[in-house]
């Protein structure tokens, strides 16, 4: 099971539609401070259904939509599409957010609810959505495992299994 493709349009600093192709093994993402690297990681988490805007460095979910630059107006919509592949099968998860505060999820291009997405991911990835969140180590968060209470760590190991 692999991530194959990530498409970001209007999410944070990615005002223009941008596509990443992922291979197996290790992909490094490099670039200057403030260029948008962490925004790529957050786009992935957001597409996977992240509910905490705070963990995405936003006060409200609408803040993930491109807010404009010095010579550019803000956009009205953010969209992220993630394509996963396994044994020749392909699954595309999508998420959109609008300035109005509305949002939607997509499975293979068709509108769906968050729990449909979570169920589709669980079948495809064979890790629960809660367990999967441990696969994202955010900037400055690497010591997370050491800082948890022992009971939290236990729960994590149960969810990750």
């Amino acid at each position: 099971m692999f991530l194959q493709r990530l498409e970001i349009a209007g999410f944070k600093s990615f005002a223009k539609r941008t596509v990443f192709h992922w291979g197996p093994g290790i992909t490094a993402i490099v670039g200057p401070n403030g260029s948008g690297k962490s925004n790529v990681a957050e786009a992935l988490r957001w597409a996977f259904g992240e509910q905490s805007s705070r963990s995405l460095r936003a006060r409200r979910m609408e803040e993930v939509i491109f807010a404009g630059g010095s010579n550019r107006p803000p956009l009205e919509k953010a969209e992220v599409l993630v394509t996963l592949g396994r044994d020749g099968h392909v699954l595309t998860i999508g998420r959109r957010a609008y300035r109005s505060g509305e949002g939607e999820y997509l499975i293979n291009g068709r509108k769906a609810r968050l729990r449909d997405v979570q169920e589709a991911l669980r079948d495809f990835i064979s890790v629960s959505p809660q367990g999967l969140s441990y696969a994202f180590i955010g900037q400055g968060m690497v010591e997370g495992f050491l800082e948890m209470r022992p009971s939290e760590r236990r729960r994590l190991m149960e969810e990750a299994a």
Binding site: S13, V127, G131
Partner: protein, 153 residues
């Protein structure tokens, strides 16, 4: 379910011991279950030459590397398909980045890694590289880069 957890716990604990020893040659570490009102998992770690002490006495780089050993043991035992690391190597010195990069390469046979990094040695360990840049208009772009091109700059 309880014995299944104990079984998984044993696997993760011994994998963590192995990984810690590859990261800290001559060191020892492990996981232990706490009884108490709330059951929990404790981490103990002793870098080589030092006495076992509380984790908060470890240095910044030692803490990061110990946490990565815990993460890697979970990814490995539970066969996680992918993992995204955002500057997890920021606190590591040259020798430890090398060990971290080797650990990444070993695990990457089964787990796909996306690693945001400023570190040359980590970039060298990658199979592919994406460069991110932002124009004066505040818009980010990506560019697929060849490893040679990245490392010569």
């Amino acid at each position: 379910a309880r014995s299944r957890f104990h079984e998984a716990f044993q696997e993760v604990s011994s994998r963590f011991q192995e990984l810690f020893q590859s990261f800290f040659p001559g060191g020892q570490a492990g996981l232990s279950l706490t009884a108490g009102p709330e059951e929990g998992v404790e981490i103990w770690a002793r870098p080589p030459g030092k006495k076992v002490r509380s984790l908060n006495q470890l240095s910044g780089g030692e803490r990061a590397l110990t946490a990565l050993a815990v993460l890697f043991s979970l990814l490995d035992v539970n066969s996680f398909p992918f993992c995204v690391l955002d500057e997890a190597d920021a606190m590591l010195d040259e020798a430890n980045v090398q060990r971290f990069a080797k650990g990444l390469q070993e695990l990457s046979r089964r787990t796909q890694f996306i690693v945001i990094t400023h570190n040359r040695r980590t970039i060298e360990a990658a199979d592919a590289v994406y460069g991110i840049s932002m124009g004066p208009d505040g818009v980010s772009h990506c560019l697929s880069l060849s490893l040679k091109g990245v490392l010569s700059s």
